[in-house]
Amino acid sequence: MTTTPPEPDQTSSPDQPSRAVPLVTKPSPPAAAPPAAAPPQSGRFRVPTLARHLGVAVLAAVVLAIATTMIGDYRDYELAEIAAFVVAVAGLTVLIGLSGQISIGNGAFMAVGGYAAALLFVHLQWPLAAILLAATAAAALAGAIFGVAAARLRGPYLAGATLMLAVALPALSTQFQSVLGGDQGLGFYISVPGFLGINFSLSRWQAWFNCAVALLVLILLANLTRSRVGRNWRALRDDEVAASLAGLNVARLQIVAFIVSAACAGAGGVLLAVWIGTVSTSLFALGVSIQLLTAAVLGGLGSLVGAIWGSALLVIVPTFLANFATSHGMTQTTSSSVPILAYGVVLIAVMVGFPGGIQGALVRFFNLRRRRPADYHQEEKGST
């Protein structure tokens, strides 16, 4: 899936998909890299996509499982938070990077997932896996409803509608206070399952659960983006008119993309609830929606690995800056703003320095080192 403008991918035209999200309509830059050539296929064993993704995921799971035993409770806990955001950001990066739509309101779908999960937990005491599935379905349904309503919207109009969704939806929790708990929200206190023993740390269990779900979602998304639906999305993103002429059902594809991103946001909302042990409206305030967008773009739009980078940055940088400020005596009412200022500068610097996001920069870096441009384009397209 394409992210960085200078590097065209193969399915899309070499012309960059700048119109994809016309928040800014400027001419696309000329492709800097050579046009993608088909890499030599001979002499390489072809592994089925699903198997390959599964292999990567199993390996990642092993690494993570070992890591969680070494890094301590607090880092486990941070890992669980990153995993929760990875899920939501991955859905958003697919929506924007592949289908060419934008949402500044995915926090609202996180809220739907989180609240649905908490309701099932409080009233029906379902097992966690069932809660996750049902809450994800609820968020997908919400995404479908909104997607239908917003199917004709593009660019800034879609941005405006989703922004207002994120602002307005939390009000429901005070409107239906007896069910949704109002300001206090709903408790969602999970415990470590019995088979792990009573001394197993909760943070590690949270990290395990969230990372497992995140890996699962990444596998599903990686396969989805390489399926026909994924190709149709890219066609749609690159030229809506052409896609329509080619017989693609534009509205339906867009709604499906919205459903996928809402479902991911919903699952991310459940993981966030698992992580924090409660759901309340302030957990899903507008700022979260903005953070998701920021993480998706910083990581590298359209790239699932980028979603990991973006989420990690999202979680680690503010805490790091807050600690830095405190340990350097910046605790007065004025100097506590220094980390905020620094965070803003970091965002701008990354965007200016790495226009393709972190993943774009990394891919380009390794690509230059290995001098295998052709391979690199292959890479770009379906990076996990």
């Binding site: 890499p39 390489r44 072809r46 390959r52 292999g55 990567v56 990642a60 690494v63 890591a67 070494m70 890094i71 301590g72 409770d73 607090y74 880092r75 806990y77 941070e78 890992l79 938070e81 990153i82 602002v167 005070t174 109002g182 300001d183 206090q184 206190y189 943070s203 992580w275 924090i276 042990g277 409660t278 309340s280 409206t281 302030s282 957990l283 979260v288 690995v305 990991i308 980078w309 990690a312 979680v315 805490t319 807050a322 600690n323 400020a325 405190t326 605790t331 007065q332 009412t333 506590s336 703003s337 905020i340 993943q359 990394l362 390794f366 292959q378 890479e379 379906g382 990076s383 996990t384």
Partner: protein, 447 residues
């Protein structure tokens, strides 16, 4: 279509890098030495060394809740600095590490986990906000860390069975509503009364307390506001249209000021009764100061004139009060450079800091977290607050009463004695005539 190894490498590299980063960072949080030196002081529990007591907090130093509230932690810290400079607590200095959560529960959760798991604090002190602290209260209790004197008047902190280590401090909003309601019921008999409240825990609890005392027949309108929407004109117009002669408002200071401005715009002049949270005379006067036609000095004060409110701390206007004198001095010494005025938030921060020092002295020379909890459960003697604390093993609420006063010439003047009550619908509201003890001459509670 063939894919290279690079994807896998990329994914693995990122995971590996993350783990490394995490591992590198995690090694920094070590445990403190446990040697005993200096007057038999030992490292009696996590966060306590022979020379220090480390406590932590989450505070909105920036963001939407920062106005006003960002002063509280520096004020508490100023009081701790004063204590540290005058012998500390049994010779130990308090190290107060408060981290900015921007009033965002996600960040609250991260910073509190860090404080407990990595920085190994002895207690979480005065964590600010209902939605923020609710996101961490369960975790703090599961780690058996003392969660003392939460900066929020939510009744939810009073749950000794489910949150045994959590204690509220300030007068809870239900009690406050009851005390204000009783006063209104007695002094505005037969008048039409309208409520204006923030649509969250704070406002709703306040209205609950008010409704226990004020006869239903007198209540003509209940209007609320959402703190993210500053356009409250329609709600104020609705209060006016309902003919309210007394408006009781459970608002934060900015919205008390907006309420007053909207009343001017509507030529609507009912008697205004405001909860303690939104009635700090200095803050209000500051917010309203610019609205005079020609920079009239004291204009802000003229707009706050006559507002009825309650308070559980001595009035800042009472310069002769020993507590105000003490805190004013500490403010001058430690805070005057960074915080422009000795206002209600500064008083709040120092008062809650004083209560913590009081509890620590009571917990003993080499306290554990359990000792601190037990000490508070045995009750704390009345000090900075005008009413006694209600702490016991079955009540974790905190201050139990307040007096009613009127803002006159920019300062709160008390009109009544102190009333104490509980937070039940039927609990009586009784006058409490015990005088508030004077501040100790050292400024530090005695062991």
């Amino acid at each position: 279509m063939i894919r290279s190894h690079q994807v896998r490498l990329g994914a693995l590299a990122s995971l590996a890098a993350l783990s490394l980063l995490a591992a590198a960072c995690s090694s920094s949080g070590g445990s403190s030495g446990g040697g005993s030196k200096g007057g038999g002081r030992t490292a009696s529990d996590v966060g306590i060394t022979p020379t220090t007591i480390t406590i932590g907090s989450h505070q909105p130093l920036t963001g939407i809740a920062a106005p006003g509230y960002s002063e509280i932690a520096p004020a508490a810290n100023a009081y701790f600095s004063y204590v540290n400079a005058h012998g500390g607590i049994f010779g130990r200095k308090i190290v107060y590490k408060y981290l900015n959560d921007q009033y965002n529960p996600t960040i609250t959760s991260t910073v509190v986990h860090q404080l407990i798991l990595q920085d190994k604090v002895f207690a979480i002190f005065n964590g600010l906000g209902t939605p923020t602290h609710l996101a961490v209260a369960q975790f703090i209790n599961s780690e058996h860390v003392a969660d003392v004197f939460v900066a929020s008047g939510c009744e939810c902190w009073n749950a000794p069975s489910t949150l045994p280590d959590t204690f509220g401090w300030q007068l809870d909003y239900v009690r406050e509503g009851k005390i204000l309601g009783k006063y209104i019921e007695q002094h505005f008999q037969g008048k039409k009364i309208g409520f204006f409240y923030q649509n969250d825990e704070f406002g709703q609890d306040g209205v609950k307390g008010l409704s226990y005392e004020i006869p239903k027949s007198q209540i003509v309108a209940k209007q609320s506001y959402d703190p993210t929407n500053i356009k409250i004109g329609p709600q104020v117009a609705a209060l006016k249209a309902a003919g309210a002669q007394v408006v009781v408002s459970f608002t934060v200071p900015a919205f008390t000021a907006l309420l007053k401005l909207n009343m001017l715009g509507l030529k609507f002049a009912p008697q205004l009764v405001v909860s303690d949270v939104g009635s700090d005379a200095i803050t209000l006067a500051g917010l309203l100061a610019s609205f005079a036609k020609n920079k009239t000095a004291g204009f802000g004060n003229s707009l706050t004139q006559g507002i009825i409110t309650d308070s559980y701390l001595p009035s800042l206007g009472q310069a002769s009060n020993s507590w105000i004198t003490l805190f004013q001095g500490i403010y001058q010494q430690y805070l005057a450079k960074t915080i422009p005025a000795f206002d209600g938030n500064v008083l709040y921060g120092m008062s809650v800091g004083y209560t913590f020092v009081q509890a620590m002295f009571k917990a003993g020379k080499n306290p554990t977290r359990a000792d601190l909890i037990a000490a508070i459960n045995r009750g704390l003697s009345q000090a900075v607050a005008v009413a006694p604390f209600g702490y016991s093993s079955t009540d974790h609420n905190g201050i139990t009463g307040a007096y009613i006063g009127t803002i006159k010439n920019g300062a709160l003047v008390s009109d009544t004695g102190v009333f104490v009550t509980d937070d039940s619908a039927t609990g009586a509201i009784t006058a409490d005539s015990t005088p508030q003890p004077a501040a100790p001459s050292t400024g530090i509670p005695s062991p």
